[in-house]
Symmetry: C2
Subunit: 387 residues, 2 copies
């Protein structure tokens, strides 16, 4: 296990009906800006519940934060925050709204060109407005971490930043608020949480048994609950457990002291930036190919994954057979969740691979993965396996 520092100060308020308690976590005299997306929170009741809970607060609103939130949109919110002397932000929505709010929180107090935060990175962030979140879509883990991903429409760039200043002060996780999600988003969420876990687990053995067991537990839970949520979309207990799994998959805990990969995310971000695919769709395309291309570097963990997550021990085939089966099962699970794992499933072909590889090269992302040695040629081979 490598040395590490772990500090996650986000307060999680979990369970059906918890939005009603919101007011006590926001200073009474705060000028609050409530941020949300396209309006689904108005049809599923979340909007009314939040407004009712904050009846005693001064609340302004900013809506229209897109999936893969855009820098251009977020900068309009920054202007509103500064003009209206807002001092507390409340994100109400999924990972995109929370990610966008993190950027706004940092940009509002940043002295300089706010694009620096995404261009140079979170180290330029010295302060951020306090904010909380009401989560409506379990997937990204943004509700309990310090990371944010923002896209710039003008340049087709998708960039991330991390800063300890942008942990949410609190996040309310009410699983009942996820019952009205379209199944496409439900499937996407399960795939997203699954790949967040593999990015921190399918690397090389680092003698970190707790982190391994926790990661395996999250993967096993997603394999159990994924089919259940599709079969019984009204089961709030299943929703609750998926929600908690997605939070735990990317709150830093399973990643302490171990190598991390993130090549699948790096490539996936380019696919979203270029072709507008959902984030999880890109992960479902990229991961199986990356695992195949990296099977030697990841051999030890792939065999452990095959055995502990898929029940494939030495009695069930050669090493090569077990690795192939584990990767094949992973692809089949994503498909089962309604997320196609091949470029052709989205009407894309070989030219998309050329464009993605070119974009990676243009961005200088030429050494990806836990050993920083995944080349654009490797990425090309990985994507060709998912044509």
């Amino acid at each position: 296990m490598q040395n590490f520092e772990f500090h996650n100060p986000t307060r999680v308020i979990f369970g059906t009906g918890q939005i009603a308690a919101l007011a006590k976590y926001i200073p009474a005299n705060a000028r609050v800006l409530m941020l949300y997306g396209g309006g689904s929170i108005k049809t599923n009741g979340t909007y009314d519940e939040v407004r009712a809970a904050l009846a005693g607060h001064t609340v302004l609103e900013f809506s229209g934060i897109e999936p893969n939130p855009r820098y251009e949109t977020l900068m309009q919110a920054v202007e509103l925050v500064q003009g209206e002397k807002i001092d507390f932000l409340l994100a109400v929505g999924g990972g995109s709204v929370v990610d966008g709010t993190k950027f706004i929180a940092a940009a509002a107090l940043y002295d300089g060109d706010a694009w620096d935060i995404l261009k140079i990175g979170g180290k330029v962030v010295k302060a951020a407005l306090p904010f909380g979140a009401v989560l409506t879509l379990p997937a990204t883990g943004s509700e309990m971490n310090s990371a944010s991903v923002v896209s710039r429409a003008a340049t087709q760039e998708k960039r991330a930043f991390m800063s300890p200043h942008v942990y949410p002060r609190f996040s309310v996780l009410d699983p009942a608020k996820t019952l009205t999600l379209p199944l496409r988003q439900v499937g996407n969420g399960v795939v997203d949480a699954f790949v967040h876990t593999t990015e921190q687990y399918l690397t090389y053995p680092a003698n970190a048994p707790v982190q391994d067991r926790f990661a395996e537990g999250l993967l096993q839970t997603l394999l159990e609950l994924g089919p259940q949520v599709l079969a019984r979309p009204d089961d709030v207990e299943v929703r609750a457990n998926i929600m908690w799994t997605a939070t735990m998959a990317l709150n830093g805990l399973i990643g302490v002291g171990v190598p991390q990969d993130w090549a699948t995310h790096g490539v996936g971000h380019e696919l979203t930036a270029l072709f507008g695919l959902d984030h999880a769709q890109t992960l479902a395309i990229v991961l199986p190919g990356i695992l195949q291309v990296r099977r030697e570097a990841k051999r030890g963990k792939l065999l452990q994954y095959a055995e502990r997550v898929w029940g494939l021990d030495a009695s069930q085939g050669s090493e090569e057979e077990r690795i192939d089966a584990a990767i094949g099962n992973t692809r089949a699970f994503f498909e089962q969740m309604g997320v196609p794992t091949r470029l052709s499933g989205y009407g894309l072909g070989a030219p998309a691979i050329d464009a993605t590889v070119a974009a990676l090269e243009a961005a200088g992302m030429t050494g990806l993965g836990e050993r920083r040695d995944i080349t654009p040629a490797d990425v090309r081979r990985a994507l060709q396996l998912s044509l």
Copy 2:
């Protein structure tokens, strides 16, 4: 899963050599009181490392905090804190030193008789001095939680309190500092972490698969590493993983949203108060009997424990046989760790059971466990199984 709130603000700084970084986590102008126990930190080098790291700080010392820290001793430290205008505490030691420091931190700012904190409970605590910890003995989890257990010698009472004000600001976990521990304390630590986990896991099914998988992962890890640490006491990697397991076993995470038992701890505290047994020794005596006496109430989770932790599935015997085997294996593991699981192993017999049951009744602890229905008669039967 039950609704819950989770907030753990402790910063963990983990790994060999991390004590050197201590100074940056303590305000430069703080008046620091360094608290420790019987002096083992002076022979294993921890004392010198801490003093060197804090060379630029004003540091006073208070030593002599006992295992099962005594109220009487801690109140002397409170007097020193108040007299010397101390504004930051640093616990250097194991769970007893950290627990004692939590009490001192709260008592120093408490307006009234400090015994209230233990008599009435942590809700009377409205503030506490900030403090950090340098951990030298992995076992109690106190380094990353808000609980403290204190004994009053004069009345043979052992009482606990919890308060969100007594989370350590930080804890430095350097596994190399545990290499010189006597094997008795190593075995005790493994048993302590194991029983912390079972107290939050072996209750009744609550449809909380993440918490279950995490708890099972910690138990599996302890079963793997326990024998390794005895066989290779110089292996710092094994020490590191045991240290992280013990922290995760009681930092609140595996207990969110699920029922909790704590009967074994309740009975164990009385055994320590009456007979001076090590904390882990009492747990090793009490747990196997409690599991037997509660086998009906705990049937579902005992079978899950048998299957997932001990590999005993339906092909390996009847339900009764698997439950008996799982409980028997648990007892055998504690013995393997050098911790006797029978009262006779400590020179105690039936009169000790009478005294323990009488003490529970006197303290009003007549309804223990996850359903608050474990009676003194149940405790008597449980202890009789460990004569």
